[in-house]
Symmetry: C2
Subunit: 343 residues, 2 copies
Amino acid sequence: MSSNSSQNSLFLGIDLGGTNVKAGVVDASGRAHSHVSVETQAELGPGTGLANIEKAGRLALEEAGISSDALRAVGLGSPGTMDLETGYLLDPPNLPGWTNFPIRDLLAARLGLPTVLQNDANAAAFGEYWVGAGAGDRVRSMVMFTLGTGVGGGVIEHGRIIQGRHSAGSECGHVIIDYHDTARMCPCGHRGHLEAYASATSLVKRAVEGLASGELSALSKLQESGNLSARAIAEAARAGDPFASRLMEETAFYLAVGAVSVMNVIDPDMILFGGGMIAAGTPFLDRIRFHVKRLAFPVPGEKCRVEFASLGNDAGFIGAAGWAKSVFDALDRGETIARYSMP
Amino acid sequence: MSSNSSQNSLFLGIDLGGTNVKAGVVDASGRAHSHVSVETQAELGPGTGLANIEKAGRLALEEAGISSDALRAVGLGSPGTMDLETGYLLDPPNLPGWTNFPIRDLLAARLGLPTVLQNDANAAAFGEYWVGAGAGDRVRSMVMFTLGTGVGGGVIEHGRIIQGRHSAGSECGHVIIDYHDTARMCPCGHRGHLEAYASATSLVKRAVEGLASGELSALSKLQESGNLSARAIAEAARAGDPFASRLMEETAFYLAVGAVSVMNVIDPDMILFGGGMIAAGTPFLDRIRFHVKRLAFPVPGEKCRVEFASLGNDAGFIGAAGWAKSVFDALDRGETIARYSMP
């Protein structure tokens, strides 16, 4: 083949979300040469959505001033559920109706480029591992929790994403932190998962419960005005509101419980927290660190770094590009670490 | 070097325990050509212990009718804590006084062979993965729980043991299944760990608690005669004793909770249970399977195989040999997957 040869060192990273598609051209050092966002219009179905994904990709090429011939491959991060062997979306809750959709083959055909698919939270973790908070020689393994509507997870071990045999690996938001049948219900339908305690959604839910049971707090007014959000709770905590402070402290504790559970399996160099909730800042991070140290085994508790992610919303498309690079670099070494689609 | 060349395809596997050292010569297909056991005499200190480890190794060579020149390397499985980078035992609870002991260097020197060190539960898991219950093309990733005095763990992902950055990986007995401060205390000093609920020790403890609170059961007599053991509880359950049955059912449930937590991180092909408690047999396994299926995500819950280990007490030395083989096979490919000591 004359194009997309192994000499090419540019990758197109795409981060598919329920609302927007982000895309950018990323070079072998992890630098983004462009950065675009278009609406997914997920509700119009996978056909329109796919056209918008292609559009985002072509805009990213245009903004970077290159043609697709200069690219080695495409990396696509998508919300699950998915089958990473076949490249199908199965039944993604965030993309209703995109059921049994062969997104990887179709995108490869549309863009005329080899395409790798990955879970979005895994892609974001890989981005942070590659050129974000985990960049540097010392970090070889990393566990990332993405704190938003849910709690996403991504685990990198020996430079590889743990994607699992059934595309359900790295779901660290779904470790069980309370086995009792009184435990909180997770949106996934099972009880006691970390996500049911420590997502932005569950933080707000716990606030609402507390206010209903008579907690006195500045959050009451926010609730009345319809402005009770995770961010508002974090701000109230910083401003000294005792109830909001307790909610944030509990959240830090729950996250530490989940993090230590995963640490005791992976024992990584680094635990990373990303997503909207890290706007709560260093005091929140310090409380997570406090509980991790207290709950972990002594050596990992001492040595494992606990940090916030650093790439923000760019982690997804950069990580998707980086994972595509890893897959094709491995292929050059004669090693298959993940499936991909050819155009 | 004229000896121990990469042409050699025999390995010496050694499984160091608090009571006995097991050893055997293992070929490249995982077949044991000898199988010996000598007393560790751990209480006489690491010097005597090391002599006994060497003795076990030399007896294994003798029994296999080969000289050490025919060996490629030695694999040693040991209880932790340890530092797998430097090959030191740090402060192993099961080998009191063997503190900061450079066991890997010393054994390599004594046997005149390159030596790889691994955690004993990880080695056992690797043995099962290689030639035990996990053998076969379909199994690429595996999580094993070893149910004994404690709950040991071993995770194999992409053919590698997850040993962790601080030699504390794969400690699946220490996932936190109950975050409350009322949770059971684990022998490791932290609350709510799987081991505190599902080890043979904790099964007996829960039986004692129940009997003290007035449960009527055939186990009372066993307790009076000092014969209350995990095995006796399993037997009473099989004989229809309601309280013993409930204890076994709870144990199966706890194990499933821990297994599903780890599944949601690793998403392996197979979950394996080994150790003395699997003497409880198929009814026990079926209850674990029932709860795993109920608690897991649909696809992994359907597809992940849940089985008992098949190598029994041989898993340790066979797995230690197999891991040494993996390390040196990787080295032949120019890849370093674990440190080792040269004689």
